[in-house]
Every structure is written in structure tokens, then in C-alpha cells.
């Protein structure tokens, strides 16, 4: 697993208080990991800070799963 994926996973685990092995490629933040819609906003904020990138609102809406987040950040970072 890449360094970016590890860092994203750490943020998700810390923020949502979920087990690390639940955070898999297709895990949906809302449906599988118990996030509410405001949690997803906070996750995006945390990704922006961790990776020093800006995630516009329309892009943030497309980030639904752990895999989506890793893919977006790899392309943006």
C-alpha cells in the first residue's frame, strides 16, 4: 500500500473511530464507515491540510469511498 493510502487511512481511522481493517478500497464513508454528511466535509478538510492541496466543493462531492479519496489525492498531490 502506498504512502498516500496509509496517510489517508490514518485520518479516516482517527476521525471516524473505525477499525483499520474496515477501511478498504470500496468502503463508503457514509454507508460502511458510519460517517454523517458533516463528517465527510471534515474528512475533506483534513485531507486538504495533510496533503497541502485544495479540494473544490464539486470534487469533494465525488469522494464517496476510501478508494475515491486516495485516487483524487494521488492525482492532485
Amino acid at each position: 500500500m502506498s504512502d498516500i493510502a496509509d496517510r489517508v487511512k490514518k485520518i479516516v481511522v482517527e476521525h471516524l473511530g473505525v477499525e483499520e481493517d474496515k477501511v478498504v478500497e470500496n468502503a463508503s464513508f457514509i454507508d460502511d464507515l458510519g460517517a454523517d454528511s458533516l463528517d465527510t466535509v471534515e474528512l475533506v478538510m483534513a485531507f486538504e491540510e495533510e496533503f497541502g492541496i485544495e479540494i473544490p466543493d464539486d470534487a469533494a462531492e465525488t469522494i464517496q469511498t476510501f478508494g475515491d479519496a486516495v485516487k483524487f489525492i494521488k492525482e492532485a498531490a
Partner: protein
């Protein structure tokens, strides 16, 4: 006593009577205050009176670029914005049938849109801190209506709806969003009224007197305090009983 030591507060319209009283009350409770307003001189004078823990942050809220820059300037000066008081407001009174689009839009822009932008900009820091207080200063006329003030009343009622919706969204993050709705308060604005106008107004106020800026400041200080942590989405009417809502 309310203790806001270590908290930072941004107050718009701090050059006016009510805004100045709010800033003084929060500062007196120990907060660091950011004084915003269009007129620099009264802001500097107020900062001089308050002494330490007061920062002057001039901003014209009808200039949307300046509105967007203000939260950043406040965070740079104070380190954070824990408490936001949207107090600044303008009026462009006219009979509805004579109200121009510009009269309408300028009041909505300054009173409602600038408040929206400031709330949004400070929300990130409050969400991270899991603590925040927003107090929006509305008006009794937002609830009752007032002839000649369709734009102003709409902007103030709009702030109430915005505050309630935001309060819903961020309550779980330790952030409260409330309104304080003043009735008639003695300020430079009411000093211009004639004696006849004043007595007509007083006839509608069970308390028999206009309120003072400090009456509003005390309500804001309460809503900004730790004590008010379970109070959110509400409007505290401070009007001497003229409208019991």
C-alpha cells in the same frame, strides 16, 4: 461571572453603539476582540479604551472581497475566531412601492450575504476546535415587519432562518448559532428621532423606556458563554416587551 479568557471574538459593526458595547462586554469577560467596522477612527478609539487584547480590523461589508479577507485578517491577528458576532447592518428605508432594486440588494448584501460569508469562513476553525459561538444580531422587525423596512426586515428574518439551519448542522460539533433581536435601543440612530416620534415609540413598549446598548451586549455575552452551550438555534428578544415572541 462569564469567563471568556483565552477565547477570541470577531465583532462586526464595532464602530456603532451596540457593536461597541458588545465588544466591551466580551473584552470585559476576558476575550481577545477583533473590532471590525467601516470607520477606522471610532474603532481605534475603542481599541485605545480597551487596551490590551483589542485588534482593529477595518472592513466594508458591502465589498465582498473585503468580506472574504476579514476572517483571514482576524485569524492572523488573534490566532483564531472562536466567537463571531454579526452585528453590522445598514438600512435603506423606503415605502415598498418606492423601494429600488438597489435599496433592496444593498441591504440584503450587507446584512444577510456578508453574515453568511463570515459564518462560513469561521466554521472550519470552529469545527476543528469542536467549540464555537455565533451570535447574529437581528431585529424585532424581522419578526413583526415594519412599514418602510421591507428590505431590512427581510434581511433580518433571513438571518434567523440561516442561523437555525446552520445551528442544526453544527450542533454536534459543539458550535452554537443564535440570534439576539433588539427592539428600540438608544443609539446615534434613535437620537435623531423627534420627541413626537419618541413618545409614539415609548407608548408601544411596556417597559416604558428604550433599551441601552449594554442590554444587547449582556444578551450576546450570555450566548457566547460556556453557560449557554445547550442553547442553539434560538432568538433572544431584548425589547422591553414591545413584542412578546
Amino acid at each position: 461571572m462569564t469567563d471568556l479568557t483565552g477565547k477570541t471574538a470577531l465583532i462586526t459593526g464595532a464602530s456603532g453603539g451596540i457593536g461597541g458595547a458588545i465588544a466591551t462586554a466580551l473584552h470585559g469577560a476576558g476575550a481577545v476582540v477583533g473590532l471590525s467596522g467601516t470607520r477606522v477612527e471610532p474603532l481605534e478609539a475603542l481599541a485605545g479604551e480597551l487596551g490590551d487584547r483589542a485588534h482593529v480590523l477595518p472592513c466594508n461589508l458591502s465589498d465582498m472581497e473585503a468580506v472574504e479577507a476579514l476572517p483571514k485578517q482576524a485569524a492572523e491577528a488573534m490566532g483564531s475566531v472562536d466567537i463571531l458576532v454579526n452585528n453590522a447592518g445598514i438600512t435603506r428605508d423606503n415605502l415598498f412601492m418606492r423601494m429600488s432594486d438597489e435599496d433592496w440588494q444593498s441591504v440584503i448584501n450587507v446584512n444577510l450575504t456578508a453574515s453568511f460569508k463570515l459564518c462560513k469562513a469561521v466554521m472550519r476553525g470552529m469545527m476543528k476546535a469542536r467549540w464555537g459561538r455565533i451570535v447574529n444580531i437581528t431585529s424585532v422587525v424581522g419578526a413583526t415587519g415594519n412599514p418602510g423596512q421591507a428590505n431590512y426586515a427581510a434581511s433580518k428574518a433571513g438571518m434567523v432562518g440561516m442561523s437555525k439551519s446552520l445551528a442544526y448542522e453544527v450542533a454536534s460539533r459543539g458550535i452554537t448559532v443564535n440570534c439576539v433581536a433588539p427592539g428600540f435601543i438608544s443609539t446615534a440612530m434613535t437620537d435623531k428621532l423627534t420627541d413626537d416620534q419618541k413618545s409614539a415609540i415609548l407608548g408601544q413598549i411596556p417597559a416604558g423606556a428604550m433599551g441601552a446598548p449594554d442590554d444587547i451586549a449582556a444578551a450576546v455575552r450570555y450566548l457566547a458563554s460556556m453557560d449557554a452551550g445547550y442553547v442553539t438555534g434560538t432568538t433572544l428578544h431584548v425589547n422591553g416587551g414591545m413584542a412578546m415572541l
